[in-house]
C-alpha cells in the first residue's frame, strides 16, 4: 500500500535521477509545477461543469446537457469559445496595466497552491512559514483586482475594484485570525507540521482533526465564511455582481484575459479550500483507522472536492449581501468571534494540563460553552431587530 501512497513521490524521484545533479532541483521544481498546473487545470474544468450542473438542478433546471454525454464536454467547448474570442481593450484603457492585471492575479494564486501538502511527503514546497507565505501571496491578489478595475477606465470596473479591495481587506482579518488559533495549538507555521499534528486518532477511532474540537469547529466556520468572501464567491460576490455593476472589474475583459481571470478566481478558491482542508480537516489524513490504507492524496482531494461542492451549494442557496451588511458582518460579527476563538484556543491549550477525573470532558464542555455563549448572544443581538413574515415558495412545504 505504501507504494501506491507514495507513487507520485517515487515517480518524481525516478524521473529526476536521469538528470545531472546540478539541474536536479530545477527539474524537480519543474515537475511539481507541471503536475500542479495539470491537476488544478482539470479540477477547474470539472468544477465549472459541476457548478453549472448543480446550480441548474438547485433551480429545477437541467444544466448543460448538449456537449457530450451529460454535457461533460462543456468546459472544453467553453475553453474553445474563450480562446477564439476577440481580445478587446477599451480605447481609453491603460493598456499596459490592463494587460498585466490577469497575470498579476494568476501568479500569486499559483504560488499559493505550492505550499499546500497534497499527501504524505507531497508538499511541493515545505516552507517553515507556510501559512505566512500563503497570506502574503494572497495579499498580492488584491493588487491585481485593483489593476484590472482601475485600468479599464469604466465606472463599474472601478466600483467593483473598490468593493473588492474593501471586502478583501475586511475579510482578511477574520481569515488570518481564525488561522492563528490553529497555529497557536500546533505551534508551527509549517503546513506540513500542521497536518502531522492532526495525524492521530482520539479514543482510537475519531480523527484528531481540528474541526472536531470546539475552537476548531468555530474556527472552521469562520474561516470558510471569510474564505468565501476572499475568493469573491456568492453570497459575497459583490465585486463582480452581474446584476448591479455588470461583473465589476471584469467588465472590460474578454477572450483569453477573461479566461485567465476566471481561472485565477477558481484557483484562488481551490487554494483557500486546500488551506481549510489542511488547517481544520486534517489534510491528507484518513477519517477512520480502518481507512488508513487508502492513499493519502485521495483523502486530500476528496476533502477538497467536498469543500468545493459546499461552496457551490452555498452559492445556489444564499442571495447576495448588500455592501453595508457585508462590512458590518465582517467587523461586528466575524472579527469579534475570531478574537474570542483565539481565547478559546488558548484555554483549550492550557486545559490540556488538567489532571482531575474526566478532565478532557470538562475541557471540551468548557470550550464549547465559551464558543457557544458569545455566538448565541451575537445572534440574539443581530436577530432582535427585525422580524420577517414567513416567505412562500412554490416547492416549500
Amino acid at each position: 500500500m505504501d507504494q501506491i501512497d507514495q507513487i507520485f513521490v517515487s515517480l518524481k524521484h525516478w524521473a529526476v535521477h536521469f538528470f545531472p545533479a546540478v539541474v536536479q532541483p530545477l527539474v524537480s521544481a519543474g515537475l511539481s509545477i507541471a503536475a500542479l498546473i495539470a491537476t488544478f487545470g482539470s479540477i477547474f474544468a470539472i468544477t465549472t461543469w459541476v457548478e453549472r450542473k448543480a446550480l441548474g438542478r438547485i433551480q429545477n433546471r437541467l444544466g448543460p446537457n448538449r456537449v457530450g454525454p451529460f454535457g461533460l464536454l462543456q468546459p472544453l467547448a467553453d475553453a474553445i469559445k474563450m480562446l477564439t474570442k476577440e481580445d478587446i481593450v477599451p480605447v481609453s484603457a491603460d493598456r499596459v496595466v490592463h494587460y498585466l492585471a490577469p497575470f498579476a492575479l494568476i501568479i500569486p494564486v499559483s504560488l499559493a497552491l505550492a505550499v499546500i501538502p497534497y499527501g504524505r511527503n507531497m508538499a511541493p514546497v515545505d516552507l517553515d512559514a507556510g501559512v505566512l507565505f500563503f497570506f502574503a501571496v494572497g495579499a498580492a491578489a488584491e493588487v491585481a483586482v485593483f489593476m484590472a478595475g482601475w485600468s479599464s477606465r469604466n465606472k463599474y470596473s472601478i466600483l467593483g475594484a473598490m468593493r473588492a479591495i474593501a471586502q478583501m481587506i475586511s475579510y482578511e482579518l477574520p481569515l488570518v485570525l481564525s488561522t492563528i488559533s490553529v497555529v497557536m495549538i500546533v505551534g508551527s507555521l509549517s503546513l506540513v507540521k500542521i497536518v502531522e499534528a492532526q495525524n492521530h486518532f482520539v479514543l482510537g477511532f475519531l480523527p484528531g482533526w481540528h474541526v472536531l474540537t470546539p475552537w476548531g469547529f468555530a474556527g472552521f466556520v469562520l474561516f470558510m465564511i471569510a474564505a468565501a468572501a476572499e475568493s469573491n464567491r456568492a453570497p459575497f460576490d459583490l465585486p463582480e455582481a452581474e446584476s448591479e455593476i455588470i461583473a465589476g472589474y471584469l467588465t472590460e475583459y474578454s477572450g483569453f484575459k477573461y479566461a485567465l481571470f476566471f481561472l485565477g478566481e477558481y484557483w484562488g478558491m481551490f487554494a483557500v479550500s486546500g488551506l481549510a482542508v489542511t488547517l481544520f480537516l486534517g489534510g491528507w489524513t484518513a477519517p477512520f483507522p480502518f481507512l488508513v490504507w487508502v492513499p493519502s492524496f485521495v483523502w486530500f482531494f476528496a476533502k477538497l472536492g467536498a469543500l468545493i461542492v459546499l461552496f457551490i451549494w452555498i452559492r445556489g442557496t444564499l442571495p447576495r449581501l448588500r455592501i453595508d451588511q457585508l462590512m458590518s458582518f465582517a467587523w461586528k460579527f466575524l472579527l469579534p468571534m475570531s478574537l474570542i476563538n483565539i481565547v478559546v484556543a488558548a484555554v483549550w491549550h492550557f486545559a490540556a494540563g488538567w489532571s482531575f477525573p474526566l478532565a478532557s470532558l470538562w475541557r471540551w464542555v468548557l470550550c464549547a460553552a465559551l464558543v457557544a455563549i458569545p455566538y448565541l448572544s451575537f445572534g440574539r443581538a443581530m436577530a432582535g431587530r427585525r422580524r420577517f413574515p414567513k416567505r412562500v415558495y412554490q416547492y416549500a412545504t
Binding site: A139, E142, I165
Partner: protein
Amino acid sequence: MSPVFAILAAMTLASAIAAMSFRKLVHSALSMILTFSGLASIYLHLNAQFVGLVQVLVYVGAVAILVVFAILLTRDSTRDSSVRSLAKSWLTGLLVAGAVFGTLAAAILGSRALDRAAPQAAEITVKKIGEQLMTRYVIPLEVVALLLTAAMIGAVIIAMREKEGK
C-alpha cells in the same frame, strides 16, 4: 556579485526610480509595489524568510492598498496632469539627494569594518523569532502594540468626516 542579487537589485532600483518619476499617481503606486516585492525577494535571498514574507504581507497587502485608496479618494492626478509635477525647489532636492548618496557611498567604500565574509547561514525558524519576541523583546512588542492601537485610533479620528455644523 551574485547574479540573483544583480537581477533583483536592478529590478528594485528601476521600479523605485519609476515610482518616483511617473506622472500618474497610480503608476507610481504600482511601481512602488514592485519595489517592495523586489526588496522582499532580496530579504529572502539574504536568508531572512520571515521578514521577507512580512514585508510582502504588510507592504503589498496593506500599505500599497492604503496608498491606492488615498490616491482614488483624493483624485488630484486628473486635475493637474498638464501642470508640472515637480516641486519649486526640485533642483535643490535633487542636489541634496545626490550629496547624501555621495556621502553614504564614500563612507561605505572607505570603511574597513565592512571587510568580512558572510558567516554560515543560521537556521532562523519562526519559532526562534517568536521566542525572542516573547522574552527579550517583549517590552518593545508591547510598545508596538500600543503604538499600533494609538495609530489606528488617530488615523480614524483624523480621516473622520467633520460634522456639518462645525
